[in-house]
Symmetry: C2
Subunit: 368 residues, 2 copies
């Protein structure tokens, strides 16, 4: 269908309501230029004479014309889309990352495909595969996939990981280990010497890092560390964990994340156990809820929104310079002391002991 330059416009019929959805040719003929010029007007405005440009843009405006990204991607090989996969949209931790990432992507004029893998590795793999064809790259947050699977995916699309380290893949890494050390230092400074750690999901890089920080900080000190778990990173699991912690007679607990810590707080309140009078509680992540709890939760703050932004930036950089190597960008943690921590009752005279008791459910400290 070549349109004669009669000023009469032929447009493809829209599928919806009979309205015309103009194509580049409609604009071209109406502005008395070739389709190529219209294309340039949008993609490389510098290449077209100011006068022509203005005319083209005016016609485009009048016709409500917008270039079709799908058609463009067909020739350029770039979609202008970015995929983002998270294990659980209901977790505020990922909401915050998503918020930052989506904002940064928009600034770079990229659209965001979102997917929730429901903490299910099989689904995660399938989602990334499905996305691969229609995005320039994908960001996977706290991936539950094996290293081998990630190496596989890397060949289907450009990958950036958040809170996961894999050879040859760019990543943004939140300093969980450092955050944990700050948490322990804080509790030790307050006089605690029998501390519980409520572990997160097996296979989670963050959890491994937090435990690594724990070991680093406690090494050579006369501290009793009781590791409980693993727990799902949810409020309900925290309620369960609270009872275990009380039974373990610790004077303070550090939770894998805030959701877990909030569950602990709730359960302790229900049981009438005072926080921080009888037990101190430290969370992890500093989700918005942490500051809203009663008592306000002491927690290790992680720059969540920023990490989302940085992940996008890493991806864009990788796309712009495919040759250049991969980068790992670390982001610092910072302890926020609020009202859920205080010196233990009776100061430094708490229980002692170095052996593992049956109720401890201690998990092995080993790289998995």
């Amino acid at each position: 269908m070549t349109v004669s330059a009669t000023g009469f416009i032929l447009c493809g019929m829209d599928r919806r309501n009979g309205n015309p959805t103009p194509s580049i040719r409609d604009v071209a003929s109406r502005a008395n230029v070739s389709p190529a010029t219209v294309s340039r007007a949008f993609a490389e405005p510098g290449l077209v004479r100011a006068e022509t440009l203005q005319r083209v843009l005016a016609v485009a405006e009048e016709l409500h014309y917008r270039p079709s990204r799908a058609a463009r991607s067909l020739t350029t090989g770039k979609t202008g889309n970015i995929g983002l996969v998270v294990p659980d949209l209901g977790n505020p931790f990922f909401s915050a990352i998503l918020k930052g990432g989506q904002a940064r992507a928009r600034e770079a004029d990229h659209a965001v495909f979102l997917a929730d893998s429901e903490e299910n590795p099989r689904l995660e793999l399938e989602l990334v595969r499905a996305m691969a064809r229609q995005v320039d790259g994908v960001i996977i947050c706290s991936s539950r996939l094996s290293e081998a699977q990630l190496q596989q995916l890397r060949r289907d699309t450009t990958l950036v990981l958040l809170n996961r380290r894999v050879r040859g893949v760019s990543a943004v890494l939140l300093d969980s280990a450092g955050g944990m050390r700050q948490a322990i230092k804080h509790l030790v400074a307050l006089g605690h010497n029998r501390i519980g750690f409520l572990g997160g999901p097996d296979g989670s890089w963050s959890n491994r890092e937090r435990r690594r920080g724990l070991r680093l900080e406690t090494r050579g000190k006369s501290l009793d560390i009781v590791e409980l778990g693993p727990f799902a990173p949810h409020f309900e699991a925290g309620q369960h964990a609270a009872d275990l912690a009380v039974a373990a007679e610790v004077t303070a607990v550090v939770a894998f994340n805030d959701l877990l810590a909030l569950g602990v707080l709730s359960r302790l309140a229900d049981r009438g156990i005072g926080v921080p009078d009888e037990i101190s509680v430290v969370g992890f992540d500093d989700i918005p809820m942490a500051g809203m709890a009663t008592p306000h939760l002491t927690t290790v703050a992680l720059p969540l929104e920023q990490s989302g932004r940085v992940a996008i930036e890493l991806l864009l950089e990788q796309l712009a310079h495919p040759g250049s190597g991969t980068h790992e960008q670390g982001l610092p943690a910072q302890l926020i002391v609020r009202a859920s921590t205080a010196p233990p009752r009776g100061g430094r005279s708490g229980l002692r002991g170095t052996r593992t008791e049956p109720w401890q459910e201690t998990t092995a400290i080993a790289e998995r």
Copy 2:
């Protein structure tokens, strides 16, 4: 580039790492069929002989072939994508809707484009416009746009609204008015007769509905209703609102949403004012956090995830039958009584009065 059937495969070079990204023709020649057959094998498997199908699929698998949705959409006019726009990703209310919507979309084999409008109408408009070209339709949650703007957008793409009513546009409507009536009934039954309402954003359909429910339920009863606000639907605004409510000497408050109610709870706790002993507090939405607060928040539960699912269904239906009219799907609210409400101290002997006092900041009750 026509490929001779020599069994030798020519593939386009991938932009990323020199790996081949196979096209439909690569599969076709390798399987000794035409591209059309490969196309059918994926789009309409019923149209191709079982034996051929198997062969094609096998080759496709071997080559890691996946149809390009962009190319497909160019000919079919359908993208298989759905846009989802929310005012604030950080608000758990929208996270929940998003979670439901994304899950339902995946079941229907559709991808989701996500955008956060940051409660900014201009941005919202631009985001929807930008999406329009690359999605089959978009769902706007709690739109801040004017009716006229929405009517405009309707011509660019298929629209479904969540918590917003506009002529000619399908919508899912959460029963805010009914929920409010339940909340008031509950408080009245407990013996409260001076109740505060902490209003939400102007221009919010939900807020109008909640106030409508308020009027319906209080009409003809000897109740003092003190309307405060409008407040931003955030925790911090709730802390502010708490002080106003106390000054207004109400014995109970209903907040526009849970975030606001949680702020009230927090502020009251900080001031040493007992909940529910001195003031009862009712929230709205039943976000996960509501059940985690201390005391556990009495609130009007709305089926959030389900509403996201239903919105997707409405959209899919509309896409499948473009001719059929629009639908409005209502979803019921249900009061969840937890620990933040109780009879007022001193029973039914509270303050009375019908006039507006200066501190009330009463907003006009009128459709906007």
